[in-house]
Amino acid sequence: MQEAAHTAHEAAIHTVTYLRWIPLLPLIGAVINGIGGYWIQKSAGKNVVGAIACAMPLLGFVLAVRAFLQLMGLDASERLLLDSVFPWIHVGNLAVDVAFQIDPLSSVMILIITGVGGLIHIYSTAYMHEEPAFWRFFAYLNLFTFAMLTLVMGDNLLLMFVGWEGVGLCSYALIGFWYSEWANASAGSKAFIVNRVGDFGFMCATFLLFWSLAEAGHPTLLFREIAQHAPLLENHVFWGMGTVTLITMLMFVGATGKSAQIPLYVWLPDAMAGPTPVSALIHAATMVTAGVYMIARLSVLFDMAPTTGAVIASVGAATAFFAATIGTTQFDIKKVLAYSTVSQLGFMFIAMGVGAYATGVFHLMTHAFFKACLFLGSGSVIHAMHHEQDMRKMGGLKKWMPYTYATYLLSTLAIAGIPPFSGFFSKDEILWKAFSSGHRIVWFVAVCAAAMTAFYMFRSVYMTFHGESRADEHTKHHLHESPLAMTIPLMVLAALATFSGFLNVPHALFGDARFDAWLAPVVQHGDHGAHGAHGGGHHVEVIEYVLMALSVAVAAAGIWVARAMYETGTMKPDRLVYAFGGKLYRTVYNKYYVDEAYDATVIAGTMGMTRVSAWFDTNIVDGIVNGSAWVVRMLSQLYGLFDHYVVDGAVNGVAVVTSVIGSRVRRLQTGHINAYLYVVVLAVVGMMVARIW
């Protein structure tokens, strides 16, 4: 089967052997630091550990660039590099290898992962400098890079799943990096277990996909073959519904887990318990976007499932909106960014839902830049504030940390969607695609979310950097700009956040949508476009400009409100709160009590079941076992009693009879020997009776 597939594709596949090093290098780094790190750090010092750790993703980046350029050189239809390392699982009609592939989509991903990842590694060497378990941190970080690269480079679903859970593991380890805090430890477990719920969906989808393809005659889990044979499943039905719809639905369950969408987003805010660079790398730039990547990767299936598309778009919109509302009320700077991440992911899913995969991935990229920058900026602040995260205790920081402020501001403008910053291009494109594909409600909700985004992001800017400092004297005294190792990555990312938008200037703005074109071979599937407006409508419509203006306007409005509230103070937040009614505000501030709801229902339910089954096991199942033993013992007791009473009783009985008959027996006579003899006689008589009868 495998071979057959190969021959079928020989034309398009370019086999190279250097790809494996992209994920392998970070793995090596992780192994070195994981096993030897403790000694290296003791003997050679933290810088060596840091150097090793940073070298790996950066070298990876170089290779990624090389791969990218090689792809550029190829004809659009042939853009697929494959590096098959060794056969992995070959059982029956299942044949998957440990093989890495690069196509336009994954090329973008690896550039982000290694590039942004590398920067964050550098940043961390300064940020984590006081940490005694320095080596452990970087081992995890490298391991994560490896897992993430496996996720995006794996050429089949199973290998992708390895990365998929691998990043989950690293996220677990890094969230709980300071595990001696109970809260951090449980935040880690929560993240992993919630992700497992998603993985359940992912696995079931994989199985269903495999066997449906097998029924169609092409059992495979290789992406390129799935892309080739997916059409066979067009009218395939499973459990009374479209197989593809079911597969994509289950896949989406997996995506909601990884990418923190409703209803499985609850782990992400808690995940902020981890060190800030982790939040930047894993919970903003890369891991959480895995769901988006996966949908883009399997876009051929999602194209065939309009229902799923609608669901995804709606869920995305809802998530974007709800997360934004919560974001407006938080005071912990990292929590604000966390909810903003959830919200932005919602935007990406809107794009995925309406079939604008390229756009979604584009937003993924820009978001990676500005959100990483924001997180690192907040990290820089927190670093300066001695791990104070409450914005109410900050303020006026711009005079102490200008670089941090500048970069943070640029990224905020980007995320707020102000032209010509990157966020404008990516987000506006999403809104347009949602609108133009007819999802008007989704579009409306998204616009509101965009407005709120602008609001709460600038709220954070004003509260943190503007106005008078609300920090206590001691902290104020030590305030300082962060070292270069931290500021340089900030600047790079800020630059990217500012300019990357020009990679995909829409035709409406006289651009050539280069990015869309780059991804087209992966995410456009000829006539399967059951819906959606991929291709980014080459025909420009007036309405597009209107909407563009509108979105900029609402963003501006959001900024203005934030300014009025937290800068000039012409508007009083608390008054607004009253206006909305305190109850509503409190509900939002407490994240709609979703965590509490889960605790009350799912967790409590499971715990109840475990208790019940444990009770059942010890009392019923084992009870029956011991009971049967007890019964045997009772029988033997019974025999003893029979021996004692019945036999002797029989003796007496007969004796009575005989005395009645009037023998010379004066009083009842008994004796054990007689009893024994009675048994003999009774037995003999019994046999005779039985025979005659």
């Binding site: 033993a629 025999y639 003999v680 005779m688």
Partner: protein, 493 residues
């Protein structure tokens, strides 16, 4: 062959040896001063008679002796070997037993040998009269041997119960025999068989007669419901005698039973398959007895606190297992019974030998006397005991398992699956009480009041021999099975 008095003596050597020895011992008891020699003499005699028996194994052709009173055939030879071995072990044990030291050696050993002689006759009798005489011979001597310890409540009481029970049982038996005689007009098994084959008897009367007779046999093999004497007698008798009764006279009972039911009451068809004649459906009776015996025996054993009493009930249960082999009416079944008897001899005597060892040094026979045996110097006896007990429970790779295996094989071949299931489940139950002893010996820690158990060379030798037998025959039992195979041959004239 049908030999008269004179020619018969050629086949009569072992019996003669024993007979002479009995008289010699009684006489010697009066003259010899060193009584301990008498035991040795008895041991030697048994050994010699055993050799004499084995010497006749090579087939010189079977024959009726003394005008069809007794018979000389492979079947009887097998049992003679078992009896001799049992007596041999018993005498050996007696030499080491504390209890037996106190009784007058001469008559004790004389009675023991006499009892053995009686068993020989039980195995060879082919005539109702002879059968009765042999049975009584063994019984009478056993009564005395049970009560041999003077001024001992338990011993005396046991012998009295044994006597009365035995008297009634044998009385019932001969009353039944009288009817058989009346209905078939013959005392001779062959004669009975031909009469039945002709078959004009009233089968109901015959059935009644057979049942009455069964009372006598059943009491000898201690099968439920004729077992009630066994626990008391086993507990009361001196340990070597208990061992002797539990193996020797049980085996003798089986010899009598088999010869009565097979050559006399059944007809050998082709392929070693027997048929019931005269319309006496005795296999059903045996089936019931077998099931009841093993079940009651095991259940009762579960709650015993006295090891001897426990082993008594276990021997009742084992009678039940062996009876399974009769139900299927085939040479294969018989073979498995014979095999089991041989194996049962090894493990049961062994178990009693250990009980005696403990009793010698502690003077007790209850569970407490075994507590932590392995941890107070008695590791070797404890291990041996464990081997015997697990063998009794039928766990591979021990001889007891092989015995059960052949029994089950025989009945499953004839598709008595339910019976097989009952038997198997019974052996699971039995493991529980055997394991109780093992647990007391190994898993419990001694509390200090148990006294030390020391293994002397002579008992050690016996135990070692039996242990080796139990283990070796559990792994390679061809010699035994061959012996059993060739011994399933009655002389039918």
């Amino acid at each position: 062959m049908d030999l008269g008095p004179v020619e018969s003596f050629g086949f009569f050597v072992p019996e003669l040896i024993l007979g002479v020895a009995v008289i010699a011992l009684i006489v010697a008891d009066l003259v010899v001063r060193r009584k301990d020699l008498l035991g040795m003499a008895a041991l030697a005699t048994v050994a010699v008679s055993l050799i004499a028996v084995v010497a006749t194994l090579p087939d010189k052709g079977d024959a009726y002796l003394f005008n069809r009173m007794i018979v000389h055939d492979q079947f009887s030879l097998f049992f003679k070997i078992v009896f001799s071995l049992a007596t041999f072990a018993t005498v050996w044990m007696s030499l080491d037993s504390r209890e037996v030291q106190r009784v007058s050696q001469g008559e004790y050993y004389a009675l023991l040998l006499a009892s053995t002689l009686g068993m020989y006759f039980m195995a060879t009798a082919t005539n109702l009269l002879m059968a009765y005489l042999a049975l009584e011979f063994v019984s009478l001597t056993s009564y005395v041997l049970t009560g041999t310890i003077r001024h001992n409540r338990r011993s005396g009481e046991a012998s009295l119960k044994y006597l009365i029970y035995g008297g009634v049982a044998s009385g019932t038996m001969i009353y039944g025999m009288s009817w058989i005689f009346g209905l078939t007009g013959s005392m001779d098994y062959a004669g009975i068989n031909t009469a039945l084959a002709a078959g004009q008897e009233d089968s109901l009367a015959l059935f009644v007669a057979v049942v009455l007779t069964l009372a006598g046999f059943g009491y000898k093999i201690a099968a439920v419901p004729f077992h009630m004497w066994a626990p008391d007698v086993y507990t009361g008798a001196p340990i070597p005698i208990t061992a002797f009764l539990s193996v020797g006279s049980k085996a003798a009972g089986f010899a009598l039973l088999l010869r009565f039911f097979f050559p006399a009451l059944s007809k050998l068809g082709d392929g070693g398959q027997w048929q019931v004649i005269g319309g006496v459906e005795w296999p059903q009776i045996i089936l019931v007895l077998s099931v009841v015996s093993m079940t009651v025996g095991n259940l009762a054993a579960l709650q015993q606190d006295n090891i001897k009493r426990l082993l008594a009930y276990s021997s009742v249960a084992h009678a039940g297992y062996m009876l399974m082999g009769l139900v299927v009416l085939s040479d294969e079944g018989l073979r498995s019974v014979l095999f089991y008897i041989m194996v049962y001899y090894l493990m049961n005597i062994g178990a009693f030998a250990i009980v005696m060892l403990v009793a010698n040094s502690t003077g007790r026979e209850d569970f407490a006397s075994f507590r932590g045996l392995a941890w107070r110097g008695g590791a070797v006896p404890a291990v041996a005991m464990a081997i015997f007990l697990f063998s009794l429970a039928g766990i591979p790779p021990l001889a007891g398992f092989v015995g059960k295996f052949y029994l089950f094989a025989a009945i499953i071949r004839s598709e008595f699956y339910a019976l097989a299931l009952i038997g198997a489940l019974n052996s699971v139950v039995s493991l529980y009480y055997y394991a109780r002893i093992v647990r007391t010996m190994f898993l419990d820690q001694p509390q200090g009041d148990e006294g030390v158990v020391s293994l002397d060379w002579s008992t050690g030798g016996l135990v070692a021999a039996l242990t080796v037998g139990t283990v070796v025959f559990g792994v390679y039992w061809i010699p035994v099975i061959n012996l059993a195979d060739r011994s399933v041959r009655f002389f039918l004239g």
